[in-house]
């Protein structure tokens, strides 16, 4: 058979399977991410149905998937929101970084994987999955809750922090050493600040330049601009993902709104390809030995997320049940952890167990996190919380006046 024919057959089969898995995940109320990862494991080397011709195509698709994930994330926030959040919630973001990145770093060093792998692990354990958490909050009807803004701000700050972490990691992975890392970091800081300022001042002008009227032109314009900037950012060693994120931030108003609608289906397609690709890169046979370490890491870092959410909500004046909800809700790690691990896996000389560990870790947290987030809704859980709490003087209802 001709190569292209095989490609079509393989790609079609993979996408069709993903479609079925997506439906299954909706049926059982689970994020599709773990199922996509498992599908990748099954299709990969040493899996059940190894692919032959389409791997290269999927690799390119995965790259585009990361870029689309990030540009959509950027489109969700405006520059004003990011800066406002940074101003009011910087301490919570800092606490989140310390409590969750350090265990990953320590874990990497303890396993003797070296500084570079430890830095990767720090990122993997740090970032919660904003996609999964936003969905869980909506599903549980908690968007109106008073602890929800606290959780969202932590997610926003994590995303913004990634704009600095990813360039640093890219430089370190490229083996440029400390000076190279510092250079990349300073370029990234500079770019982020410039983009935020430009978006604040001239956001409307940029958005007006790309007219929102014609959907086709808008789709091509935004997609083209995103890929262009992502490519240039990669050329400057600032990481393509960050470039895409900044494009998303710079766009605002109706352009951002319409672009979100137009790019969503593309994002869904290529993000699924990305998760499969990551699974492809992992040998299923490598999974069992890392399961226990991954479980240990998951338990520790899910615990630290609970502490993060609890303290951040306490700082915002939320009562104990809300603090517990915030903590339990922040636990799932997802797309970002895989993006970080994906950057590392491509690097030669890195600890080979990193990819299977990251896969297992994300699988554990993304499946158990949303389930544990439901705990505070159970009556017995509320009773335990109430028992440990000093009884509050119950407010008497005001007498009605005639």
């Amino acid at each position: 058979m001709h190569d292209t024919t095989v490609l079509l057959i393989e790609l079609g089969a993979v996408l069709f399977c993903l479609g079925l898995l997506g439906r299954l995940s909706r049926r059982i109320g689970l994020s599709p991410i773990p199922l996509y990862l498992l599908a990748g494991l099954a299709f990969g080397h040493g899996g059940v149905l190894p692919l032959s011709a389409s791997e290269e195509f999927i690799a390119v698709g995965a790259e585009i998937g990361v870029i689309l994930l990030l540009v959509m994330l950027g489109l969700e926030y405006t520059a004003r929101e990011l800066i406002g959040n940074l101003r009011t919630n910087a301490p919570a973001g800092l606490l989140d970084g310390l409590l969750n990145a350090l265990p990953g770093l320590a874990f990497g060093l303890l396993l003797g994987w070296g500084w570079v792998a430890a830095l990767v692990l720090a990122g993997i354990t740090w970032v919660s999955s904003s996609g999964v958490i936003a969905k869980v909050l909506a599903d549980l009807g908690r968007l109106g809750n008073r602890e929800t803004p606290v959780m969202l701000s932590i997610l926003v700050i994590e995303d913004l922090a990634m704009a600095l972490y990813l360039p640093l990691l890219t430089a370190v992975l490229a083996g440029t050493g400390f000076i190279g890392g510092a250079k990349a970091l300073s370029i990234a800081v500079g770019t982020v600040i410039v983009v935020l300022l430009v978006a604040l001042r001239f956001g409307h002008a940029i958005s007006a330049f790309i007219s929102a009227r014609d959907p086709e032109a808008l789709l091509l314009g935004v997609l083209g601009l995103t890929l262009l900037v992502a490519g240039l950012a990669a050329e400057l060693q600032v990481s393509a993902a960050v470039g895409a994120f900044l494009v998303g931030i710079a766009l605002s108003g109706p352009v951002a709104h319409h672009a979100t609608e137009l790019l969503s289906p593309l994002r869904d397609l290529f993000a699924a390809v990305f998760f499969v690709f990551f699974g492809l890169a992992t040998r299923p046979g490598d999974m069992p030995p890392v399961l226990l370490p991954a479980l240990a890491l998951a338990v520790v870092t899910m615990g630290t997320k609970i502490i993060t959410g609890y303290l951040a909500a306490k700082r915002a004046g939320i009562a104990v049940p809300g603090r517990v909800r915030a903590g339990l809700g922040l636990m799932p790690r997802g797309e970002f952890s895989i993006v970080i691990a994906g950057l590392a896996v491509a690097t030669p000389g890195i600890e080979p167990k990193l990819a299977p560990l990251a896969t297992a870790y994300v699988l554990i947290t993304v499946v158990s996190g949303p389930m544990l987030a439901r705990l505070p809704d159970f009556a017995w859980f509320k009773r335990i919380l109430r028992r440990n709490q000093r009884p509050l003087p119950r407010r008497e209802p005001l007498p009605t006046t005639d």
Binding site: E81, G144, P397
Partner: protein
């Protein structure tokens, strides 16, 4: 009329929209989550755990508008009954339109109530709904209750018009 200023708290929900909420005098918290997409949720908070919402009710544009109308109209009625004590001689009355009235199926403008009696129809109550400040093109149904503001004489005039059509008989 007096206004009670209530503190409405506005909180940004990054990536989702914005939330407005207020604490009532009786200590309950009520809020509205406005999504970027234009969707609105009315949220009611738990009494025991005021940080968590026990109910989140999605409202479409029409529903939100209807709810705002009902609340606004009932507020106006409340303030009107306050007016009764404040402005001597000005009265509020609820007058129902009997099934046999010749205004059933006709528009409010046809009653010429204001020109003939100098009393105003400020609201109509229909099926537990309040229609605030109905225009002259408003069509009456049997069983509607009109809320009228005016002098004693004016109010009597309006009830006579609605009953048989002639204020002076």
């Amino acid at each position: 009329m007096f206004h009670v200023r209530v503190r409405v708290e506005q909180t940004a929900l990054p990536g989702i929209g914005v939330r407005h909420d207020l604490v009532t005098e009786s200590g309950r918290r009520v809020g509205v989550v406005t999504h970027r997409t234009g969707r609105r949720d009315l949220v009611l908070y738990d009494e025991d755990d005021p940080d968590s919402c026990i109910a989140s009710i999605p409202l479409n544009d029409d529903e939100a508008e209807a709810l705002a109308d009902v609340l606004g109209a009932s507020l106006m009625l409340g303030q009107l009954s306050g007016l009764r004590q404040q402005a001597a001689g000005l009265l509020t009355e609820q007058i129902s339109i009997p099934a046999g009235s010749r205004f059933v199926g006709r528009v409010l403008g046809d009653t010429k109530a204001r020109t003939r009696t100098s009393a105003s129809i400020v609201a109509v109550l229909r099926d537990a709904q309040v229609i605030a400040s109905p225009g002259p093109e408003f069509v009456f149904q049997a069983g509607d209750v009109v809320v009228v503001v005016g002098t004693r004489q004016g109010l009597d005039g309006v009830s006579r018009i609605l009953a048989d059509g002639d204020p002076d008989s």
